[in-house]
Point group: D2
């Protein structure tokens, strides 16, 4: 099959992915061979491909096929699988977990110490085919558009999980800082939990996307996030999805006493002066139940995505655009 393969991490300017033939093994017991229909391009793909996470041991193998948000059809089902050839399924970054530990038996399998991550510890979906574990794929509702719905499997569940971890409800307000792939979904999921959603963005184009996605209020700001708390007040919850340390620092200042800051991107907390009764939580993808809820909500028309399609072979160029901040919503690769 054809795939975009990473042999050595490097800046995307150097086009580190090569479009080449790649041998795929047969699916084993409880595994599925999936023909990829659509694969989303995540900002964390960029981190891995450029080598930012080598210090964390990611990628765990080389060469590797990146990509962790995918929709496809089952081509072949290994023994013991509950799915059959032709089923339309999706896969998230949560490739598998041990199934036995305390996290796994309490619905927190995304925190399992033995978790495998699609496209980071095993081959991902920048490819024509991918092998997945039957227990970790999801049935895709029949009314979803298959080419543009793959981002439900990463930004969808990430935004939803972060919303669950926040302090939301009909009487509450939430800031969503950063209106990219995850943020443009979080605006919607925050509202699904009843809260009023205020979008904060340093980009005019992203601010317009926030309006399109139904934000109750949209704040365009400079890269310093100057004077936000003075002008707009503080909120019960702040969710940060902008990959900028300044955004996290600003988020902390926008949380009410008793409220919650949820950080869904890589960065540090600085100057968190204690004691003051606020809560800061990190959020990273989510368990299978959250993923299933996202699919149902999307099927009910309650989560929409802004998606631009590219060809699989264009992955290097798409990553470059993402790095430049030129992708509005999410890009997907179509093999």
């Amino acid at each position: 099959m054809k795939a975009m393969v990473l042999h050595r991490p490097a800046p995307v300017e150097q086009k580190p992915l090569s479009y080449e033939d790649y041998d795929l093994r047969e699916p084993g017991p409880g595994e599925l061979l999936i023909k990829v229909i659509s694969c989303g391009v995540c900002h964390s793909n960029l981190h891995m491909i450029e080598g930012d996470w080598v210090k964390y041991g990611v990628p765990a193998k080389l060469p590797i096929i990146p990509g962790h948000e995918v929709i496809g059809t089952v081509s072949m089902a290994g023994p013991g699988s509950l799915h059959r050839e032709g089923d339309v399924v999706g896969l998230s970054p949560l490739y598998s977990s041990c199934g036995r530990c305390d996290y796994c038996i309490t619905g927190n399998e995304h925190l399992c110490d033995s978790v495998q991550i699609t496209g980071e510890t095993v081959d991902g979906c920048y490819a024509e085919y991918i092998i997945a574990k039957d227990e970790y794929v999801y049935d895709v509702p029949g009314n979803l558009d298959l080419e543009t719905s793959s981002p439900l499997f990463c930004p969808g569940v990430t935004a939803y999980r972060a919303s669950k971890l926040a302090s939301l409800g009909p009487g509450k307000d939430a800031y969503v800082i950063g209106i990219g792939g995850v943020g443009h979904v979080a605006l919607q999921t925050v509202k699904l939990f009843g809260a009023r959603a205020v979008a904060v963005s340093t980009s005019e184009a992203h601010a317009r996307l926030a309006e399109e996605m139904g934000a109750d209020e949209v704040v365009s700001t400079d890269r310093e996030y100057s004077g936000l708390s003075e002008r707009y007040g503080r909120a019960d919850s702040v969710l940060v999805f902008s990959p900028s340390q300044k955004a996290i620092d600003t988020g902390l200042k926008l949380v009410k006493k008793g409220g919650t800051l949820v950080v869904g991107v890589f960065g540090d907390i600085h100057e968190f002066r204690f004691p003051t009764e606020i809560t800061v939580r990190g959020s990273v993808i989510g368990p299978r139940k959250d993923m299933k809820e996202v699919l149902r909500l999307a099927s009910d028309g309650k989560i929409r995505l802004k998606v631009t399609k590219f060809r699989l072979s264009e992955a290097n160029e798409v990553l470059q655009r993402l790095k430049n901040g030129e992708i509005i919503g999410r890009a997907v690769l179509i093999p």
Copy 2:
């Protein structure tokens, strides 16, 4: 009356408190005049007296009488008070709140923006008498020792509230870092919520106090908290009451995925790398309901205090000892 009065913040080495006569007004409507039996000496008194918090506007007035954990008897009750002369009552740092805002009407009056803090924005209990609001004093259970129980009103409620904000329960573990005035109570309150309590201290004397207070395990460590997570593993909750930035940084490394770090002292969070699904919460005193629960638990013999008594006029010397780390448990002043 006699009181220890602060006229100008200064290092305790300069004995900033002067023992002098002080005029007290009469209690107004809904107020009580309380004759002080015992007044605890809190580490935050030290911060205020030495001027560390001038930048935060504390003290809010000068001269001021410090002290915010007190037991006494009602000497005179203003009109409309429900208490009567002779009642034995206590007062915490929560001197009063507005009673009307969203925090106040939901049992979070300690977060009210109009909160008054005993000994910081109004005169406190380093004195023979104190005036308090009838609605913010508590009946002291008859079986408590009055001279040694005043610390229930600050370390007691602080430790208890922090425990409520942690992730505790019969199947869980908690580290308590810093076994001073609050920490030696937190070891007990953490266990009241069902958790296994592991005390961590850099002081041999404090480690012995932890054993005396019933810690399930006691870890003596160096000031760098070296190798704790390697040797002892991570826990569902970590509560930090040691006024050291290093303790907070260490606490963060000792929290399990899905777990909670509660910080009950002044300091910053550094290097909180996201995203990872952990929770960090600040905790600061607590609402009246928590204070009432602490009093009942103490009355039932479930919270004990390690207390050393001093004379009111010795306040400067006691603060010096506290600064030197020479107070085991809590010091109280007896007028």
Copy 3:
């Protein structure tokens, strides 16, 4: 002033309310005299007026003016009130509470043992004026229609509280059984908490109201609620607001394992076979914070009411219509 006064409970067919002159005292400290703009007619008014609750000591006095959901303007403010003449305010059934007990200091003042109930233990709003406690009235948002918004103060908060007590969220389903005064609001509040709302009604007219109010699905059924669980399956939550024992019994059968039945009307639970891990909760009005949230949601256009206006003097006739099931949504009296 003119009022509709109850001298002796009796069936509404006998027109137990008399339109007469009634002397009102002056507002005392912390009290307000409010000129009534609109007063809702609640099904529980009917219970009290017809004598159903004499066994529970309601009404607590005779003669009494019924009515507990009101909007009006402040005519006179007693000393110490924070409101001023001309302010537009509302009052709910929660007339006052003690302010001191554990319920009151934890935001559950509606459960206070000393609670006073508007129109049941003190005079209500079937009148030109009403006296209220300053601390228990609410500012009415400027964009609300004053004549038709008074039902926010009983069905509004009742539906909202019941929704808070249910198991709701974006991934969940809820049945609302009974689409009367409370039910037609509950359909909306259930959705505000993210759930999918299925209305169940034995009346065609009420079923149409449910559609108008945005129910995701509407089920018309016979008075036996036959075969609902077989046809429609069970849900995470069921909220019952139909004053029929059959509705409650049916509700119990419609709850999923792990789910919640909330009962907001008078009735018993029968045949609740244990053990099975489901939850049953009673719900009755709600605390002030919930009332404030309802007002904000209504102001944001997220809660709508179906209201028919009548003259104050028509109260007997309106109650008769209510008894006959002829009121769609809610009736209000305009003095």
Copy 4:
């Protein structure tokens, strides 16, 4: 092997269990053959054996070996099992679940629709050997007494789960009604969650057991539970484990507003007058995580059992004694 086999449900007076040879198949993939060390005798065994549950389809097969709380050693491990010959393991009533449904992937596998129940739908432990699923057995801590700890696997987890579902905490009170096999553990688990435990029993012998197990207060009462709320007041939580409808009805009257009644036995709720803000919950065994927590707590000495040993062949006589109320704590069968 030898087993006590039920061929036809009948009153225990007729000795329905026969001690006979029974053929056991080999363990399949992911299964274990366990040599029984100890098997507890549960009150629900009595219900099944006497035919009370035929109407619910229990037992699901005949002949059947009853018994669902067991400790034993692994004799043979089928392919794919993580346990090995000689491992000491335990098994609860939760024999297996589907592993795929929403309950299973959220740590509520005890609510799975496809759950198998040890000794009710598959053969249980009134036998020398039992076959179990590797994923649903638990490692027994080395410091537990193996012959007397098997009741941890049913009363242990049942009492613990019910306590989790109640409203408990350091500032709260709980009644435990019925001090039998489950109740004598619940007294302890309620305290592990911080609450004050008040035991209520109609039997002097059971009341003495409650004292021995550390109840904070013990109330002996008549079979009508007369005047309890008047004499002892109401509590935040009431847990009912007495198989008597009167106990459940009484429990309902002993719950505070805002509190919770947990019912862990078979029976109905009657006369639950709504609306009033209380919660009623059924509880039935618990998921694997709860079972693991129980084992750890027992290993830490925090849960104790009162156990009497009998020979396996005495099962009919033991059930007769249980029916007569003559078993104090729990009986176990030793093959």
